[in-house]
Symmetry: C2
Subunit: 212 residues, 2 copies
């Protein structure tokens, strides 16, 4: 189909599709005439993935491009591809030279992850986010070590096992990437919301008991 | 002590302290002379709480003021005060007239929370956030109902029970508010980070198994 049809099918303006082409997020169509090309289902699916990455995942163009490059590199094992998508979700590890307490917390979190027996790459953004949470607690006067996270690590592992078991067999690489983005971001939002609702419920129960 | 000493103790510029006074976030000092007042420990503690609310909790001045008003209203039971602090963390429920699918999802989430047997106020922000997660999944083509959140609700309840049991007895109202803000925000960040790390670990394990 022509670009105008691709625009209708996907609901994306032609200007946006052209932008994705220029940025390398969308592979070129098959040329049919000068300045004209034919687009197919692979383009429709790719545009959907790009939108999921940017709208749901909040990825920048540069991060989305890194995922697309990994996606198109068929020598890259699926597991590594999903790692690229996962890490692109961030949060970015800033600070070349972190303050001393954050630097120390990162080492402690590294040891903690080793103690858990988890295989996690050194560049995983979650490491830094967890170290920052530890530092935040300490700066607020709580005398804690990484084991304060034990109950959270336990349920996180339960959830991850459940989530992995739910992934259908035979997904394409692009479908698997989309699933990682959606699963990570949307269920994360749901988990956060449910934790707050559960806190409110447990707090209400405790208040009722006290007043009896 | 004078305002300049209060500034030194808390590390906050005098201009910031004056701003908090004007905005009703900080109670006035005891007047000692025209244009001069004496501040005490209650002011130091309040400023700490205000900073936690704004820096850690990301509360706006208006939301922080609502918590302060609830804090100072001693007729308000502690449980209700903590609810105010909790809800101020948001996310805000936008959209007076939500799109039809979101409207329907909100009703479904309401029924779901009832089925869980959770006592949660109608205005709890988590309700809307959860409905939005459900709608996001459906708009992405997943044919799901609210029970897709079952495993998350289960661990959320486990965590909430654990968290409530860890709150020390005899906290002041202000300390309890601070604890709710820090506990909700910092451990939420930790939980999100740990889930991503656990996903990476489980994914690596599965890849290793496949290659054996």
């Amino acid at each position: 189909v022509r670009m105008s049809d691709l625009s209708k099918t996907t609901g994306l303006p032609v200007a946006t599709i052209k932008y994705y082409l220029r940025e390398g997020l969308l592979h070129p169509g098959h040329p049919t005439a000068p300045n004209q090309a034919d687009y197919d289902d692979t383009h429709v699916r790719r545009l959907r993935l790009v939108r999921v990455m940017m709208d749901v995942g909040g990825l920048s163009v540069a991060d989305a491009r890194a995922v697309v490059v990994a996606l198109e590199d068929n020598r890259l094992p699926l597991h590594r591809l999903l790692g690229v998508a996962h890490h692109a979700l961030g949060p970015p590890a800033d600070q070349e030279s972190p303050p001393e307490d954050l630097h120390r917390a990162r080492r402690e979190i590294g040891d903690y992850i080793d103690d858990l027996g988890w295989h996690v790459s050194r560049g995983a953004p979650g490491r830094h986010a967890l170290a920052e949470a530890l530092v935040a607690l300490r700066r607020l006067g709580r005398d804690v070590d990484a084991h304060v996270f034990d109950p959270y690590a336990k349920v996180a592992d339960q959830l991850a096992a459940h989530e992995l078991a739910k992934i259908p067999e035979g997904l394409s690489r692009a479908e698997a990437v989309e699933r990682v983005i959606v699963g990570t971001v949307v269920f994360e939002a749901a988990l956060v919301a449910l934790r707050r609702l559960a806190q409110e419920n447990r707090s209400a129960l405790a208040a009722t008991k006290r007043h009896r």
